[in-house]
């Protein structure tokens, strides 16, 4: 039985109700059009800004993305790169707006300069992130991938598997405090509906040439796998509101290891992330 017939049989389809149904249908059609426009706008990620261009992670990410996106890099210091480059300290000012102007998404690697101390690291992950996100909002950028770390999750009982539902327990000694504060900053922009944010909490990033001992750490990841995860996130960002669960989503990302405390099931299931470099199940 069709809905209209059912309502007539039930005696509910009076003139006013018909009007209401018509209104609802018109509204649904309008919603559908809006969704269509959004989907169309959402799928338009073509140009991506990658921050902390001086870092290995940013280089690996740019190399992964440049086949599919126009990549712009930014850093507080000059960096030689075949990609477009804008020097910016992510200060509060026009320079940061220039860095983000015209891009569709930002990959915020958020790695401070190599000799930075704790305080500089916190400043970079909070103040500079805030400036970057404010500039993004002002310039109409909708989506951010923020690279965080699993260090903030290490405080829980070692016998537990810790997924994205667990409360972060960052301590100053763990090194995860600044990453956490950066997440906190991003989260408020997502909560207010100003940006779509995907957080990738990375395991300990270990270079390709690292020793077997380093790589045996269950929560490690190769920079090329980080880049792959970023690429997966960018691919899914267009549908983030519907498919990923709103404007704010967190994913744990490591190499796959059966002994890992930090399962990557969510990243596999939703982002389609598959680690390629080392750490595979035997």
């Amino acid at each position: 039985m069709k809905r209209r017939d059912f309502l007539q049989t039930a005696g509910l389809l009076a003139a006013g109700v018909t009007d209401t149904l018509a209104t609802c249908r018109a509204s649904e059609a309008a919603d559908s059009q809006v969704r269509g426009r959004r989907a169309s706008a959402d799928t338009a990620i073509k140009e991506v800004l990658v921050t902390s261009a001086q870092s290995e992670l940013a280089r690996a990410t740019a190399a992964e993305l440049k086949g599919d996106y126009q990549v712009r890099l930014t850093a507080p210091v000059h960096v030689e790169t075949p990609c477009e480059f804008v020097k910016s300290a992510l200060d509060h000012g026009e320079r940061t707006n220039l860095a983000v102007r015209g891009v569709d998404a930002i990959v915020h690697v958020a790695e401070p300069l190599p000799d930075s101390g704790h305080v500089d690291g916190i400043d970079y992950r909070t103040r500079c992130t805030y400036n970057l996100l404010q500039a993004a909002v002002k310039e109409g950028v909708q989506s951010i991938v923020y690279l965080s770390s699993l260090r903030m999750m290490g405080g829980s009982d070692k016998s537990f598997q810790v997924d994205e539902d667990w409360r972060p327990l960052p301590t100053p000694a763990s090194g995860g405090l600044s990453d956490y504060l950066g997440e906190f900053t991003c989260r408020e922009f997502a909560r207010e509906g100003r940006l779509n944010v995907i957080v990738l909490r990375l395991g300990n990033v270990v270079s390709a040439g690292a020793s077997r001992e380093e790589a045996s750490n269950s929560a490690w990841i190769d920079p090329r796998d980080v880049a792959r995860a970023v690429s997966c996130a960018l691919t899914r960002l267009p549908a983030s509101r519907a498919a990923i669960g709103g404007r704010w989503s967190i994913f744990h990302v490591t190499s796959h290891s059966p002994s890992s405390r930090f399962p990557i099931r969510k990243a596999r299931r939703i982002l389609g992330y598959r680690p390629d470099f080392g750490g595979k199940e035997s």
Binding site: H92, H118, I122, Y130, G155, A173, L181, R191
Partner: protein, 248 residues
């Protein structure tokens, strides 16, 4: 008790100095000089120039102290708000660890935890809600500072009380029909809570990091001060409900 006051020469600081001076030895610090009457009336206490953004200065000022009260704040400057409200807390907590100071009182605005996402929608808002400061510079930087304090208490035997305020009034300003935001406290009641916070045995605090709304009873019941009353024994003397009574 030897108490270090940081940012003590702003609006609230001089009231806190008056409330604590009879009970404790104070080291009164700020980047700006203390008001002349404070220097005159409390000459038996110490005065120092301390910039909370300087780890070295905070570390030096914390020598020999038993407690730190951080009253420092910058509200609008896009660089200094982070340096003072966020990194200032880091410097204070580092100094507390190094100087083995277990008692910290941090301060901020109510939207350190209860930003527009709560304030616009809810009533009976408790200080124990998950922090939603929003993206405003002042609330966010203060909230980040509070998160830094909390992170230190996870791994150190330090007790942080975070006192959150909104609107202050002179008792004489509390007149019928005055109106205003429903989160008000008189300067003297606000200052007195610091005395209570220094009195309480750390073991009586529910955890090593506790947030309190410091406001008097308001008839709207938008923000709850029950926790400050129950845990600290806060008993505001000035009746702010007058502000919302009809004028006679």
């Amino acid at each position: 008790m030897n108490v270090l006051l940081i940012g003590a020469n702003g609006y609230l600081g001089p009231h806190v100095v008056k409330a604590l001076a009879p009970h404790h030895h104070l080291r009164i610090t700020d980047i700006k000089a203390a008001p002349p009457e404070i220097k005159r009336d409390f000459a038996g206490h110490e005065f120092m120039d301390v910039d909370v953004t300087s780890e070295g200065q905070v570390m030096e000022a914390a020598k020999g102290m038993d407690a730190i009260i951080n009253l420092s704040v910058v509200r609008r400057d896009p660089v200094l708000s982070f340096r003072v409200n966020t990194l200032g807390c880091y410097n204070v907590m580092r100094a507390a660890v190094k100087r083995r100071i277990r008692r910290i009182i941090n301060t901020g605005p109510h939207f350190t935890v209860a930003g527009p996402g709560y304030e616009r929608f809810d009533h009976a808002i408790s200080p124990d809600v998950p922090p939603h400061p929003g993206t405003g510079l002042y609330p966010l930087t203060k909230s980040l500072g509070q998160e830094i304090c909390r992170s230190f208490t996870l791994s150190h035997d330090i007790y942080v009380q975070d006192y959150l305020f909104y609107s202050f009034r002179d008792a004489a300003q509390l007149r019928s029909g005055g109106g205003g935001v429903p989160f008000v406290v008189s300067w003297t009641d606000a200052a007195d809570v610091f005395r209570l916070g220094l009195q309480i045995a750390p073991a009586r605090l529910p955890s090593r990091c506790e947030v309190f709304f410091i406001c008097a009873d308001s008839p709207q019941e938008k923000f709850l001060n029950d926790k400050a009353k129950q845990v600290l024994g806060f008993a505001p003397k000035d009746d702010v409900s007058l502000l919302w009574r009809k004028k006679r």
